[in-house]
Symmetry: C2
Subunit: 79 residues, 2 copies
């Protein structure tokens, strides 16, 4: 069973990496760029047959290791 | 107009970062984890009204800066 996890910085958290990317793109001539924020993406495959239990496991992985809940939000999708 | 971009490593490209994450999760007791691969995620907002032109611009940004086409794949979604 496969899941995709998208981890993004919370709204009010500064994103210096995104800012650098934005400045670079603007310098390259992309003037219509308004904002850009960078996050992480994980593709996880688990050996489970029960989708609810599998999602619970993936959620546990996020909370314990993959996501810093103080500054990041996350979203789990089954793929 | 907002777009989300997911950048993943191509299938045959090694993912050392993902491997470390996997080992750590297995050591934490997640034995049913089969595989995990890490990628990047961008949220881009552009000042455009034409969705086709906007997506073209975002695609150009991916090709020119955000994605290393030799080792990475990407997917653009309008959000």
């Amino acid at each position: 069973m496969k899941f995709s996890i998208t981890v993004t910085l919370k709204k009010d958290v500064l994103d210096p990496q995104g800012k650098v990317v934005k400045n670079t793109l603007v310098n390259m001539g992309m003037n219509n760029l308004k904002s850009i924020r960078q996050g992480k993406h994980f593709e996880i495959e688990v050996n489970e047959t029960d989708p609810i239990f599998a999602e619970k496991k993936v959620d546990e992985m996020c909370k314990k290791l993959l996501v810093n809940l103080i500054i990041e939000d996350y979203k789990i999708n089954r793929i």
